[in-house]
């Protein structure tokens, strides 16, 4: 089920910067700021210890950095509350960043 396109899955929770989607076997957390980024590999995300789709973004020097786009939390190990805690942590990080950089819209 992990391989089913995530855009086809129902959204069960969303914030300004994340979606949590529901598949048969996983709760899938997506980082909305990474929309459109090409998935280049799926591998273990060391921070959450679950598999994640990853892409690469380039900094001001051109150096590429691997970033997770969506995380696959197995339902047998994770409740929605546990995934939500990860999502809210990410939400908090981006909101703090937004306050620092004062963007001109809410997206």
């Amino acid at each position: 089920m992990k391989n089913k396109l995530s855009q086809d899955l129902p959204v069960i929770k969303k914030g300004s910067f994340y979606f949590i989607k529901d598949s048969d076997t996983h709760l899938i957390m997506e980082d909305k700021t990474k929309r459109g980024l090409t998935v280049r590999e799926r591998s273990l995300d060391e921070k959450t210890n679950v598999e994640a789709d990853k892409g690469m973004i380039h900094d001001l020097d051109g150096i590429g950095h691997w970033v997770p786009i969506r995380w696959f939390f197995p339902k047998k190990d994770y409740t929605l509350e546990k995934v939500l805690a990860h999502a809210e942590e990410m939400e908090k990080k981006y909101k703090e960043l937004r306050e620092l950089t004062c963007p001109d819209d809410d997206e």
Partner: protein, 281 residues
């Protein structure tokens, strides 16, 4: 039919059989050297890092004549050296550096067709060992402004029938749907769209998708002439930061032999951000 200037291209086979020496320098040009040169490069190749080595650290500009001379010295290049460039990102930045070499008058400069992509597809060897290079003396020529466009000259060319602008970005960047692909979050502009009257001919239409090599003369002529980009016109190429457009500049000037082609390296990150500049979507 062969390219107008076949002498500016070498194939991977040739590079494998003709290693660098005192008179022939091999240079990898990377946008992202951490994921390119430092993970492995062709034996004997030195590195030019597009961001740090070819751009002035303070002013938004390419390096000046003295900085270019220092870069050549560091890479063991003399004015008579044969220099072979290749790089990551489908040779975009190798083409940019080719343009900079020509800007400062270096004569014997070539690009390895297909760049890192083709070399890797052919499973050829890389090394992480960096070559020991003895510094050289290099005196550059004065800049050749005939191959570079600036904001004012681009503005002045709007609406002129003898001038055609080629926007080599992706169709979504051209229409303004996006200002930069998500992989490059530091390269956005205030507005999306294109310079009025520009033709959208993405850089990638000039290469074979499977290995990054340049298409045939016949194919290239068809691609550009169908959009009104003919050899009797003055052509201005642009993209987002001037690297993909130098790839198309190379195609038009050296593979098709167009006489009057310039690279507008300010590109969309300049045009799309400037006060009072008109755009189209």
């Amino acid at each position: 039919m062969s390219y107008a200037h076949p002498e500016v291209l070498v194939e991977t086979d040739w590079v494998a059989q003709n290693p660098p020496n005192e008179k022939r320098r091999l240079v990898e040009v990377d946008y992202d050297p951490e994921n390119g040169y430092r993970k492995g490069h062709i034996k004997g190749a030195s590195l030019i890092w597009w961001k740090r080595d070819v751009n002035d650290p303070v002013t938004r500009d390419i390096v000046n004549k003295e900085q270019f001379e220092k870069l050549m010295t560091k890479n063991g290049i003399t004015p008579d050296s044969e220099v072979i460039l290749y790089g990551d990102f489908n040779n975009w930045f190798a083409a940019f550096v080719f343009w900079v070499f020509k800007y400062y008058g270096h004569k014997n400069i070539k690009i390895m067709n297909g760049g890192r992509k083709k070399w890797e597809l052919e499973k050829r060897e890389y090394t992480t060992e960096e070559p020991q290079i003895a510094p050289t003396q290099y005196t550059a020529q004065n800049p050749d402004e005939k191959i570079r466009a600036y904001l004012d000259s681009v503005k002045g060319s709007l609406g002129k029938p003898n001038i055609v602008m080629v926007d080599v970005r992706s169709p979504k960047e051209f229409t303004g749907e996006i200002t930069a692909p998500p992989e490059y979050p530091t390269e956005h502009a205030q507005r999306g769209g294109h310079i009025p009257g520009a033709k959208n001919i993405p850089w990638a239409t000039a290469v074979n998708d499977e290995n990054g090599t340049f298409k045939t003369v016949e194919d290239l002529k068809k691609i550009y002439s169908e959009k009104g980009v003919s050899s009797d016109k003055n052509v201005i190429c642009y993209c987002r930061i001037g690297e993909r457009s130098s790839h198309t500049w190379f195609v038009l000037k050296y593979l098709l032999g167009y006489q009057n082609v310039v690279n507008y390296d300010g590109s969309w990150t300049e045009w799309g951000n400037m006060i009072k500049n008109p755009i189209e979507k």
